[in-house]
């Protein structure tokens, strides 16, 4: 068992006592704390904006020069993962790069911040050698070489990059050797998955479209120059790479069946939607039907998005889909999908019916509340208040930086949205009652969720276009117990990507999977988190390893992070 932590009382007042030495400062902060506590009293989820306290100085650029290249609108994602295996979650921000005509005194690059604990971070980009200066769009972290540490794949506008983690705090660019540069396309999401259950991670790389400066064009809306939509450019095919097990990959897009479908790919997630023991692939497409590639268990796929009901919304309309996450929002043992979209469209919740079919239940569940006026991007399902059901976080921000000039129903800078699960399969928009963290007004893109301070609740990091990120500390009044689950594969892939975990605690049964690449072109949640409410122990935990055995454990104490190694008991 590693890192067992009782959830501490993190009432704001206590924190003030711990951190303050100056009397005047104490009084001021005490007053502020009381005001904030009262303002949020009775709310189940409270997020505090702690960005300025973290030491993170990263500032995103979209590389714009005023020419309005479409790629500027979709940057970028981010990753939360433990790069140095020290037990806490670090942050990797993707950045844009100067586009034609843009000039920067300092070359923008991606940035890796090491988590030092207590909400302090150190920029280790140079030391770790992961400061790619390409135009970063999507990212996934996965241990592709099964050496026990997480590697990084960056999906760029331009050649992609695979950073191999050397296990000593540094990375090596092995893109050329691995053969995963993927030409020079405009990328989107990326996911590691073990598609053929052979114990190593394969790689799905989504492509947005075929863009070049020669093909560039802009549009006009009410007399104002605007970015043009993706349909003005030819869609580009996604690519699936099979891991050869020797540090190289082979493009199997055609033989696997995914090359037969081409669209404007954005966020992706891989999960076993049909509970048949293999990993399927969901691709959110911008302005066209989404794809759901069903795996036959050997790494051959059939596109079933349309027939299963996840390609379009309830009326059969294609959405400007951006990001996608999955989770069992109603605890019925089936993974559901949540997909973000363009202004005027609801972010959509697809309920898994269990017979290879989904229903768009957005309206009936309230899962689209607060989304229709916004362009919605990063998203994730997580139990923020540890009450035993999944809530939804949605990053918002228009892609047209001048939208306010000709459409009074939306704004470039928007607050993000938090939907809390009421426990009966419905959601309520709690954004306005959930602390100052939900009042940040920026144009967000990627969002990533994890327990950054290891205190037993899920925090949020948001990448904002052209601005500093937002770091949200979960300061919710403790509502319940929790369990973290960290998987260690032995014969299967090392981080258990694709493994299904079922936790039974009294009357509550929850499932989750380890995903590598999810949301809006981001990565998070390698360590699974289960909120348990008042249940004081987990009666049973089942781990179904992808391509491996099913391990079962009983009577597990809660409020801890449990590391489970394939074929053995929990540590």
């Amino acid at each position: 068992m590693r890192g067992s932590r009782r959830k501490t009382d993190r009432h704001a007042l206590i924190r003030v006592w711990q951190q303050t030495h100056c009397g005047l400062q104490l009084i001021l902060m005490l007053t502020l704390s009381i005001v904030l506590s009262q303002a949020c009293a009775g709310n189940s989820v409270v997020f505090r904006d702690v960005t300025k306290e973290t030491g993170i100085t990263f500032r995103h650029t979209d590389g714009s020069s005023g020419e309005r290249y479409i790629v500027e609108t979709v940057a970028s994602g981010l990753a939360l993962f433990d790069y140095d295996n020290d037990g806490d979650v670090d942050i990797y921000f993707l950045n844009g790069a100067p586009l034609k005509g843009a000039k920067f005194r300092v070359q923008p690059k991606n940035a890796l911040y090491r988590n030092e604990g207590n909400w302090k971070f150190t920029d280790v980009t140079e030391r770790a050698r992961v400061g790619d200066t390409g135009y970063g769009l999507g990212v996934a972290a996965g241990d592709y070489d099964n050496d026990g540490d997480l590697d990084i794949y960056v999906n760029n506008h331009g050649p992609n990059v695979l950073y191999r983690n050397d296990g000593n705090g540094t990375f090596t660019d092995v893109t050329g050797k691995a053969g995963v540069a993927n030409g020079s396309r405009t990328g989107a999401g990326a996911c590691f998955l073990d598609m053929d259950k052979d114990g190593d991670l394969d790689l799905y790389v989504s492509s947005y479209f075929d863009f070049s400066y020669e093909k560039h064009k802009t549009g006009v809306a009410d007399g104002f120059d605007v970015y043009i939509g993706p349909a003005s450019f030819p869609a580009a095919p996604d690519v699936l790479y099979r891991n050869n097990g020797d540090g190289t990959f082979t493009d199997v897009s055609k033989s696997s069946g995914v090359a037969g479908q081409v669209s404007w790919g954005m966020g992706t997630i891989c999960s076993d939607y049909d509970n048949d023991g293999d990993t399927d692939i969901y691709v959110a497409n911008d302005g066209a039907g989404n794809f759901l590639f069903e795996n036959d268990g050997t790494g051959k796929f059939e596109e079933v998005g349309l027939i299963s009901g996840v390609a379009y919304d309830i009326h059969g309309d294609g959405q400007g889909s951006m990001g996608v996450d999955c989770g069992d929002y109603d605890n019925d043992g089936l993974l559901d999908f949540y997909v973000t979209s363009y202004q005027g469209q609801l972010a959509t919740l697809y309920k898994n019916l269990g017979d290879n079919a989904f229903d768009d239940v957005t309206r009936v569940t309230g899962a689209g509340e607060g989304t229709v006026a916004n362009v919605t991007w990063g998203t994730g399902l997580a139990d923020f208040d540890n009450d035993g059901d999944l809530d939804i976080f949605i990053a918002c921000g228009h892609l047209l930086d001048n939208i306010d000039l000709f459409d009074d129903r939306s704004t470039y800078f928007e607050t993000n949205v938090l939907l809390t699960n009421t426990g009966d399969g419905k959601f309520v928009n709690a954004s306005k009652q959930s602390g100052d963290g939900m009042k940040v007004l920026l144009s967000s893109r990627g969002a990533a969720l994890d327990d950054i301070d290891d205190d037993g609740d899920i925090d949020v990091v948001v990448l904002n276009s052209r601005r500093e990120p937002t770091i949200l500390r979960n300061d919710s009044p403790s509502k319940g117990h929790w369990l973290g689950v960290c998987l260690r594969g032995v014969k299967t892939n090392r981080n258990g990507v694709g493994a299904r975990v079922k936790v039974v605690a009294g009357d509550l049964t929850q499932i989750d999977e380890v995903h590598s690449g999810r949301g809006y072109q981001s990565h998070y949640g390698t360590r699974l988190h289960f909120g348990l409410g008042a249940r004081e122990k987990a009666d049973r935990i089942e781990v179904r390893w992808i391509g491996g055995p099913v391990d079962v454990f009983e009577n597990i104490a809660v409020d801890q992070v449990l590391t489970i190694t394939e074929g053995t008991g929990p540590e």
Binding site: K217, T218, G219, V220, A221, D222, G223, I228, A231, S232, A288, G289, L306, I307, S308, G309, Y312, I314, H315, G316, D317, G318, G344, L353, D355, N356, A357, R363, V364, V372, A373, F406, D407, D408, R409
Partner: protein, 449 residues
Amino acid sequence: MILGLIVCVIVVGVLLQRRFSGANDGARETQDSSGSIKPRAVATELSPEEETAALKQEEMELAQQVLIDFPNGSGSHMLMGDLYARHGNTTEAVTFWEKSLEIDPTNFDACRNTGRIALETEQFDRAVELFRKALEIRPNSGDLRSDIAEALMDSGKYAEAITELQQEIKIFPLSFTARFQLAEAYRQQKEYDRAIEHYEQTIRLEPEHSHAYYGLAMVYTRMGQRDKAKEYVATVRKLRDKIDSVYSSRQSGYREYLTSLRASVVKTYLDAERLYRDGGNIARAEELLNRASGLDRNNTRSLERLASLYYTTNRAGKALECFERIARADPNNHFSHLNIGRVATQLRMFDKAERAFRKTISLAPNNPAGYRELARFYLRTNTNAARAYTLAKKAITLGRNAEAYFLLGWAADVNGDRTGALQAMEQAIKLQPRNPKYRQIYERIKKKN
């Protein structure tokens, strides 16, 4: 009398072409206008950005002037609301529409437009309330019940939506929108057999309705008939590919935008013109129409309105010029040639009139109007009675109405076919029993030996 009839026909013809929804009438708004038109946008001299700014300013200044001239007018507030809505300012649009509705509680467009904004902003109860109010104003308005149903379905009230849609279909059995919505409502209610029935009817009415095929695919999936669902999925893919190819080739640059902006400005001018014209300020109305027609030479609506104004103010020569301009701008518009023929006849420009009617027939060979008017022309000018009779007979085969029978009777009478004349006139009277002209002519033919 015949000449009078010709004038009547011309006026009716011109009025029929006033296909503008526009601002509410504001019939009692009679204030004098102030502020002459100061064109700001001269396309040949300005960059697209400058022309855009100039057109927007001109449109706003016009709307503001209309509000000054008609401060208590429902139509003037409607006009301003429409303008704001077209430029993305829905808050102001709703404010003006609500004011318009307050002034004239029977303003259907204001009510419906406000309802649509409520629907788009997810105020479903408010939307239903406004749509129902609009329905009270115009009980048989098409698609309103569909709007109500949409708001009800979005708020999960499927049973209520079904009731609305059944009523809509009863009134408008060919409405594929209502059919589709009904199918959707039944699908959500899991009444799959009914959903299938209405999806299939939707497709019968609109064979390329991809959403209906999608609905069928979803229903058959839920019913476990996956092979059947796959057939519909294939059709959906085919139809969507077709739609996508249209979208991908669509341009959205300044050229396309300026076209739409000019159309917007022209609409504001036309709405304003109606207010001034109804208020009796013909000079101002004429001024506005002249500016509107100059703004967009390809938009013939303003010329049609200008022709109508000239005609009703006894300036047939200028009306003829307008129709000829329309014919040049839109050479395949058979209505413009029809009107040229009618006005030229009145102006005794017989060669021009005959050419115009012949052109009408060549452009619209299946439309009875050209045959009818050329027949009338030959009868009136007494130049080719036999041909007139043939043309009148042809017109009847294409469309049976009182006026067509009247012309047939007239032609038969002139050609000495008394029996045929009486039979035709009887038909005309049967179709329009209250028309004294038909009865008088019938009696006159009857009295002939």
